[in-house]
């Protein structure tokens, strides 16, 4: 009954996306004494999603339960960062980060520019939709944060990136919003964790192609790859670009891909107005106009709150099916 048509590419392997996040935090706590994690129910309980399971015991006093005070959680992290620490704040769900948004956008993000002192905080946002989660436990909020200056916004789509980008996020001297996708937590698996990675700011060709480019990020990378696989059976070669971080956004890689394919579809799970897909299209239109053989397209969630019921949710956001359908239109145009 509550069917969902969500695709993930790597269903095998031993380490999940969630475990990669936990492993990164464990490594950070072990190797960098400046790191601590602050959030609701993250200590003994290990977090609503278990991203910090076992860490409070292993690192006493460094994985700390917070009162339900998102504004002060971020404020505390800012103060600690000013004093040389490397705080990670876990929001229980990305959606609740609106309660901490003033401290993120107005305080952390303006600190370096105003005072010359960097503010290295990482705010982890369990993001994106899952079946039955509803309007307040499903949001993809990258655009709210990326719009404002002074922040890096990461949106890892793979187990490997979840790991290496979180390590890098803590290393970066600036505020980082780390959008980790809840659907990928358990569904995405890899065989191991890498030692090396692309640096933040570089997009990745998740699948090479020739006929059209899909630019996307986070869970939609997998829906897009599923689309590419389906169309491959018909002889189309679709290139999928995984942005990895949406700010900075790697315009060069997008331009390079579109230079090869001549066609662009931008896909995002967030709301349609002014999100990542708008930014991607604006950049390609200004900087890559001559590369396009057809009008670029975009596909987003619908312009309503994220519905609770799986029947509605499955239609609200893009899926392999709707991406494929859009891509067919693009290929025909």
């Amino acid at each position: 009954m509550f069917q969902n048509q969500t695709a993930t590419t790597a269903q095998t392997g031993t380490i999940t996306y969630l475990e990669a996040i936990r492993a990164a935090q464990r490594k950070l706590l072990a190797e960098d004494e400046r790191v601590f994690i602050y959030g609701q129910d993250i200590a003994d309980f290990g977090g609503a999603f278990k991203a910090t399971k076992g860490l409070a015991k292993e690192f006493p006093g460094r994985v700390i339960d917070s009162p339900i005070s998102e504004d002060a959680q971020v404020g505390l992290a800012i103060g600690a960062a000013l004093e040389g620490m490397r705080p990670i704040v876990e929001m229980q769900f990305a959606d609740f980060s609106t309660c901490g948004l003033t401290q993120i956008l107005q305080h952390a993000a303006t600190m370096f520019w105003r005072t010359g002192v960097p503010c290295p905080i990482v705010v982890r946002l369990p993001s994106g939709g899952t079946a039955g989660a509803g309007p307040f436990h499903s949001q993809s909020m990258e655009a709210l944060y990326a719009h404002y200056p002074g922040i890096v916004v990461m949106t890892p789509a793979t187990v490997e990136d979840a790991y290496t980008m979180l390590l890098e996020a803590v290393e970066i001297d600036d505020p980082v919003i780390f959008c980790e996708h809840k659907y990928l937590y358990y569904h995405l698996k890899a065989d191991g964790l890498p030692d090396v990675a692309l640096p933040t700011g570089k997009a990745r060709i998740a699948r090479a192609g020739r006929d059209a480019t899909i630019v996307t990020y986070s869970a939609m990378v997998h829906e897009s790859i599923a689309c590419a696989e389906e169309l491959a059976a018909e002889g189309w070669e679709i290139e999928v670009v995984d942005l990895r971080s949406v700010k900075p956004l790697d315009t060069d890689t997008i331009l390079g891909s579109v230079a090869r394919t001549g066609r662009l579809l931008a896909v995002g799970e967030a709301f349609p107005w002014g999100g990542v897909t708008a930014e991607v299209l604006a950049r390609i239109a200004t900087e890559g106009f001559g590369l396009l053989d057809a009008p670029p397209m975009r596909l987003n969630a619908k312009d309503t709150p994220v519905p609770y019921h799986p029947n509605l949710w499955g239609t609200h956001r893009p899926t392999a099916r709707t991406i494929t359908s859009a891509m067919r239109d693009l290929l025909r145009s």
């Binding site: 129910d41 609503a48 009162p67 504004d71 309660c99 079946a131 039955g132 312009d303």
Partner: protein, 343 residues
């Protein structure tokens, strides 16, 4: 009070004393039975999304639900099944929301605890804790502005949510405006897994009342007759124009945070202490001891509740689910201004 389908409407009998523990018990047992059913449906895979139960909090919740009247405002929280039913929600509407029926008040767009019917004064909570305090304040502000008197607005909140800025701003605002707001704080010792020692540092949350200039009350939330008495008194004072009232009840959440949570972190000493009593057991004892009801009458009430719950869930389960192709995907009531359909 609310418009509900007559088939499943449970009315307090007109001759019954609304302030009695017996009346509260009627809603308490109905809530308990309904929630047990929902938990079993959840375990059976029939419910997608969260199921959060009020086990152990029924007395407090029913107390506020029975203290409110038609025309009042109520913004319940996650553990207020008893209060919702007492305020007038039908079992069928609750079941429909959980089971995803398209006939439910939220039409599958939102689920479980987020249901409500604002037009009936029954506000639909958002998840962001604390948000409803100022919202009910605003509802009361409007009622007063329109010259309505004798209206009360109530909202329930947990120990954890008292740490939100929204709680503070909302209660302070209600106090400044001297509005008839009743805030029921269910201090159930945990916010999800977090014990109160990590949530606040005062001895008792009721100490906060003075700092807002609102009346504060402290009760044993496991004692149904105390809950009914004190909550009804607080509501009566608000109704009489004494401004905001804050009732803090100590009790213990007798289940996990949600049905996905095994509550392994529970402090067993609390469970064994008086605070760990099941308020339904206490209510039975009180009612039998006072002669207000016999054991047999109480058993009959449970059976009636079970029948009503079975019937409502059966109905809801047979109803059609939301159909995406029938959605207009329009977040604005002013359709001409909506961009929803355009994507």
């Amino acid at each position: 009070m609310l418009q509900t389908s007559p088939a499943t409407r449970t009315e307090a009998r007109p001759d019954e004393n609304q302030t009695s523990t017996l009346t509260a018990y009627r809603w308490m047992i109905l809530a308990r039975v309904l929630e047990e059913k929902l938990a079993s449906l959840y375990r059976g895979g029939k419910i997608t999304g969260g199921v959060f139960l009020g086990k152990g909090q029924e007395a407090l919740s029913a107390a506020i639900g029975t203290a409110l009247r038609k025309g009042d405002i109520f913004a319940p929280l996650i553990r207020d099944m008893a209060g919702r039913l007492a305020f007038g929600e039908s079992v069928l509407e609750a079941a429909r929301t959980y089971l995803g029926s398209r006939l439910g008040p939220m039409r599958g767009r939102d689920g479980n605890i987020h249901r409500g019917k604002p037009r009936d004064g029954y506000y639909a909570m958002i998840s962001h804790l604390g948000a409803m305090v100022s919202t009910v304040t605003g509802g009361l502000f409007a009622r007063r502005a329109r010259g309505e008197t004798g209206v009360v607005g109530a909202t329930c909140i947990g120990d954890g949510a008292t740490s939100t800025g929204s709680f503070h701003e909302g209660l302070n605002m209600a106090a400044v405006e001297k509005l008839p707001l009743v805030v029921i704080v269910a201090n159930n010792q945990y916010a999800y897994s977090t014990p109160t020692a990590r949530q606040y540092a005062c001895e008792d949350l009721v100490q906060r009342a003075a700092g807002y200039g609102v009346a504060g009350y402290k009760i044993d939330g496991t004692d149904p007759s105390a809950c009914v008495e004190v909550v009804h008194e607080a509501v009566a004072r608000a109704r009489a124009g004494s401004g905001p009232q804050m009732v803090v009840a100590d009790l213990l959440r007798l289940v996990g945070h949600g049905e996905h949570d095994d509550f392994h972190y529970m402090n067993h000493a609390l469970k064994l202490a008086p605070i760990g009593r099941d308020c339904l057991d206490v209510a039975r004892e009180q009612l039998i001891a006072s002669g207000d009801a016999t054991r047999a009458q109480l058993d009959t009430m449970r059976n009636q509740a079970a029948a009503e719950v079975e019937s409502a869930c059966g109905t809801a389960l047979r109803e059609a689910l939301p159909n995406p192709s029938e959605e207009d995907w329009c977040a604005l009531s002013t359709r001409r201004l909506s961009e929803g359909g355009q994507q």
